[in-house]
Each structure stands twice: as structure tokens, then as C-alpha cells.
Amino acid sequence: MTAAKPDMITVRDLTKTFGDFRAVDQISFSVPAGKIFGFLGPNGAGKTTTIKMLTTILKPSGGTILVDGHDPVASPHEVRRSIGIVFQDPSLDDELTAFENMELHAVLYGLPREGRREKIDEFLRFVELLDRRDDIVEKFSGGMLRRLELARALLHEPQVLFLDEPTAGLDPQTRNHIWSYIQSLSKEHGTTVFFTTHYMEEADRVAEEIAIIDHGKIVARGAPEKLKEEAKAKTLEDAFITLTGHSIREEEASALDSMRNMRKMWKKRR
């Protein structure tokens, strides 16, 4: 065994432009295998755009990416096999049951038929949804949906787990729950975790490594302790202000939340 762990994710000069707007601007970082990596930044910083490029659903305008040794542009299939994702926005079929959503995922990822059922139950138990196994997802609360998405993303035992704002809009108790699942997963299975958040205190608590992104550029990288030390700040929140000259909270309870509410109302009328 060598001392230095190989990198699970390597990003060099990654750029994404929409028209002449640079959503992600020449960012570089790497994530060592087995680490929990936090990608922080305010709304609109470019976090989701970065995750989309890492997970093969958006083509970069420039730069290179390696995920588990594969390039998402050249070999999307290999990357897709290595990764699990919880998207920022819901991605369940809410007319199916929890079990059916899991089963669909299992089949798409080619899990063998025998043992499939048991495995699904095991992961539903892990996120404490086993008792809701055969309920239609439409009736689930936001926290339950999130947990189900997490269980689904883990079902095929990915090398890397991508979580885009996994706790946004959830109550503190559910947030704690979700982080404890993720930490135990990282500890027990050595899964690499790449998450984004705009909750600084969560990143401070959970992440082993952090990159802070603002206006498409990475403004700081390192362990939370190191970042706070460098910025001579007590909290990451303060460190962020020192680094960027503005607060991360500016647009909290954002447009996104109001869009979610609109969706809910619209769906009720359907």
C-alpha cells in the first residue's frame, strides 16, 4: 500500500460557458479516494453546473475531468457505472412506490435478479423507509423523498457519490439524519463523497476537504480547519466573507424555494 491515496476525481481548468456567460471558470481541484469533499458556494456560484459536467449530463466548454479514471466526455458509460447521484431537484417517479423506484434503478444498473429484493430492503432500512416500502412516493414528505433518493443512489454501490445540496430545504433533524448516513457510509464502505451546499456550518462539520466557489471561480481550497486558520476566522461563514468580501446568505430562501412551492401547487391542481 502506498501512502498517498489515488485521486477519485481530478479536474483541470474546467470551464462552462452559456453564451458569453462563464458559469464555471477554469476551476481545478482533486478529490482523494475515500474522502468527503464539500463544494461550497452561494446560489448561482456554479456548483450544479460543475456536478452536471462531472456526472456526464453536461458537456464542458473546456478543461479536463477524470472520475474514477474515466473521462465523462469520452467514456460516459464507464463514469456512469462508477457514480451515484442525488440531484438538486427531485428525480423520483412519484407515481411509483418506493420499492418500484428502487427496483427500476436496480434494473437500469444491471443488478442481478437474485438478492435484488433483499438489497433494496436493506437500503430502505438504512434510510429508515422500510415501513413505507410499498407506498406511492407522491405522498412522501421532502425529507422522505431525499432519503429515498439517497438510498437509490447507493443501491448499485457506487465508487463516488455526488450529492447536490442534499439537505436544502429540510428541517435540522432530517439534515442531521442525512449527514449521519453519509458519514457512516464513508467510514464503512470507503465511498468517496462529493457534495455541494450553501450551508457553511454543515460543510464545516462534515467535510474533510473543501473547495469554495464564487462566481464560477474557486477562491479557496483545503481542510476546513486550514481555511479558517488562513482567514483568521472562527467559522467557515466568516472565512467565506473574508475570502469573497460578501456574505453567502444573500439570496437564501431563494427563487428555487419559491419555484418548488409553485410546483407543489401546480401538481395539486393536476
Binding site: K59, P90, S91, L104, H105, V107, L108
Partner: protein, 248 residues
Amino acid sequence: MGPVYILWLRQVKRYLRSRARVLGSLGQPLLLLFALGFGFGPTFEKAGGGNYIQFLAPGIIAMGILFTALFSGIEILWDRKFGFLKETLVAPVPRLLIVLGRTLGGATIAMFQGAIVFTVCLVAGFRVEDLSMLPAAFAFMVLIAIAFTAVGTIFGSVLEDMQAFPVIMNFMVMPLFFFSGAIFPLKGLPKALTAATSINPLTYGVDGLRGALTHGPAFGLGLDFAVLGVFAGILLVVGSYFFSRIEL
């Protein structure tokens, strides 16, 4: 083939769980059956066309399939809007299999709807003349379902606007139906109308279905089958192409 099957199954489950879906797309075909069937019937028969319900029913069944098949494309828009599309697009599954599963799912539902319309036609007095031809009729129903579900897939992949989709589909349904020989015989039409009907793929579906159910095909079942089959194949390829280009 696992992914194709599970995506097919998903569509079927969603259909069976939604009564609104079942009833929603029956309205138009049934309205046409009763309005045309009983309204035009006496005139048609006086003119020596024979029993009009007997003539009309295959067209109405085709219409029931057409309508559901075209509108199944909106599921892509729903899935895009409510996120499920992402789940399928990041899975390590070729998009061709995804679009195949979806299309077969949509086509199966269109077949269910066609079967319901068929039953209503029987209640309204329609009689199958040769029961041994039912498998041929079934084959034509399948081809119509696949071809027009693929058309729905094309529009569902290209359009991103929930409002535009039904508008465009409604705009297509009526001309496809009226210029297909569903409601009037193809013989002795004005030239322009003959041109319109002969480039309309549904014409061959209606003609084949009518031929199989009541012995009156204008073109012959072989030609109908070949034209519709080729057409369905091409549309499947085009639908897959547009689906595989979707970006989120």
C-alpha cells in the same frame, strides 16, 4: 433487455393507476364514432355504401390508437419537468434502449385504448367478419401504435414547452384522421384529396385494419403492412435520434 422491460412496465403501471389517463383519450374517438356513425350512417347507406358503422369502426379504432400514441410523447416533457428523466439519462444504459422501452410502453397503452374503443364499437353494432383475421388486425394496431408513439417521442424530445405540445398534437390529429380514409372511401376522390390520403401513413393503417376486420382493403393487406412497417421503422430511428440528443 432488462432496462427496456422495466421502462415499459413503468409506463403500463402509471397508465393503470390513472383513471384520468384511461378516460381522457377516449373522448374524441367515441364522440366521432357516435356523431359520424349515427349522423352520417343513413345517408351513407342510402348512397349504397353499405352499413356505415361497419365501414367506420376500423377508422375509429385507429383514431383511438393514434390519439393516445401521439399524446404519450408528453410523458417525456413531464419527466423532464419533474426530474425523472435525469434518473434514466445518467444510468449506464444506451439511450437507444431507454427510448425503446418508453416507446413500447407508450405503444402498449395506445393498444389498450384501441382495445377499449374496439369494444365500444362492438357494442355500437360493429361485427368482425372473419375471426381468423383478428391476428392481422392486431398486427396493424401494433404498427399504428408504434409509428405514432414514435412521432410523439420526436415532439416530446424536441419541445420543451408544456403548452406547445398539446397544441401541436391536436393540430396533427385531425388532418391525420380526416385524410386517412377513416370516414369516407378512398375511391373516386378529387386528385388533391387522393394525394393527401396516399402520403398519410395512417391511411395504410386504417386500410389494413379495415381489410382485416371487414374484407374491404383498397390497397391490399401486403402493401398496407409494408408501407406502415417501413414508416414505423423510420420513425423509431428518428425518434431515438432526437431523444438521444436531449440535454438537461
